[in-house]
């Protein structure tokens, strides 16, 4: 049996339509539930301001984090030139020390609302502004020094 006859005989139309509707409904319910999740959590935290768990949620509003930010105020229009971006990162590097783990720098960059730190790090690594020292530790090689090295 082939064609539309086979589809009708095996109840194919009903299975396809019902299946599509069920999967849509399932994911819609899940999406709705998780879209309300942070609001529910905020409500619960407002009801129990002294609760211990209140201290770590959400990360950006964590009072302990407030003193960390902002290390450097960001310009309204974030530059696209890598050297200019490196200058903005300098205060963050001063905070981490001469050598640091990339994850630490990432965390500080994120707390300071630097856009796309992971992509910036890749560009820094490619242009040897971030220099690997082994064991996941990196050092900072500012662009000007970088050029000096290249020029001799």
């Amino acid at each position: 049996m082939y064609g539309f006859t086979a589809i009708s005989t095996h109840n194919g139309w009903a299975m396809a339509i019902a299946g599509a509707l069920i999967v849509f409904a399932g994911l819609l319910i899940l999406a709705t539930a998780i879209s309300q999740l942070h609001k529910i959590l905020m409500l619960l935290e407002k009801k129990h301001p002294d609760s211990k768990s209140n201290q770590n949620i959400p990360e950006n509003d964590d009072p302990e984090n407030q003193e960390d930010k902002p290390v450097s105020p960001l310009p309204k229009e974030f530059p696209t030139d890598l050297n200019e971006i490196a200058c903005l990162y300098k205060p963050l590097i001063d905070e981490t020390g001469d050598t640091f783990y990339l994850s630490d720098l990432y965390e500080i960059a994120r707390k300071n609302d630097f856009p796309h730190p992971h992509i910036t790090f890749t560009a820094f690594r490619e242009s040897e502004i971030l220099v690997p020292c082994g064991d996941g530790v990196f050092s900072w090689n500012p662009p000007t020094e970088n050029e000096d090295n290249v020029n001799g």
Binding site: I22, V23, I34
Partner: protein
Amino acid sequence: MDLLFQFLSNTGYYLADYRNVIMIVVGSVFLYLGTAKKYEPLLLVPIGFGILVGNIPFFKGFGLGIYENNSVLHYLYFGVTTGLYPSIVFLGLGAMTDFSSLLARPSLMLLGAAAQMGIFFTLLGALALGFLPKEAASIAIIGGADGPTSIFLTAKLAPHLIGPIAIAAYSYMALIPVIQPPIMRLLTSRKERLIRMPELRDVSKKERIIFPAVGVILCCFLAPASIPLLGTFFFGNFLKECGVADRLAQTARTSIIDTATILLGLTVGASTQGDVFLTPKSVAIFLLGAVAFSIATASGVIFAKIMNLFLKEKINPLLGAAGVSAVPGSAREVHLVGQSEDPENFLLMHAMACNSSGVIGSAICAGILWSFMIVL
């Protein structure tokens, strides 16, 4: 002399037939694509080598072949036919997945649902081509672009089709960079591809911990047949996020998933013995698989465009293509197509949201199809 002739008549050179040779060529192509082209090497290399192993001709009755009851390969294949390996792969996948972007923008989950339409269109196509309902459902799930899910459902509904369906599913997953970009470009204008997505909000740790528990309850209550996949998937994610079982999460996303992937790939590859694999049905499955995957990609993109008719803040319709559950291949492809138009456009995180919802969506579809077939 007789002993020598007897030995020679038992060698692969003597027993080989053209179907083994064809499959060995196919296996070699898989190995080439995996190693030289780096198309999904973690999948194509074990499968490709498995095809070579499975197609070495041997004397039947020695307990060597994957379909012979007392062979080593048969014991390893047990994990495929029972659906064990796919469940374990999902555990590792859950322990790897970061749902932050999905939690930050839950509406993108609808794109994961839309991309599952490929499954249901293909179900109709397979029935129209004369496949039985259980076979049709197993073929249709290829549209989810999820190898483990395809193997799981086929093992339950049509175990005789595991080889071709698994090979088709993994082949199309590996060929994402070839299949998806032309469809994305065909269905979107340049203006649409240039749409930038806003930065995602920060997601708290509490949300990330609660999500797998909410997810498993809502999804598995709806489609209990997806428990073997979604149960382990969300469990793996809970291990990752809860923060008190890092060792378990680390093992799940490294050693455990790697072991399951090796055994799954090798045995699925070995199951493609030329004499049982090269049939007209396999060719039809490959064609339907391509249709399923293309429709899935197109459905996601078209649904994103439909969403844009109602949204004030437009979404980039390329994201719809990441609604298939090929993680992270399709998300990466969406990002690359977006960047080819505008190098400053970063779609990766948003695409990962669609991609992870695609994984959930295709597992729910597998559960739904399995439930439908139980009553047949």
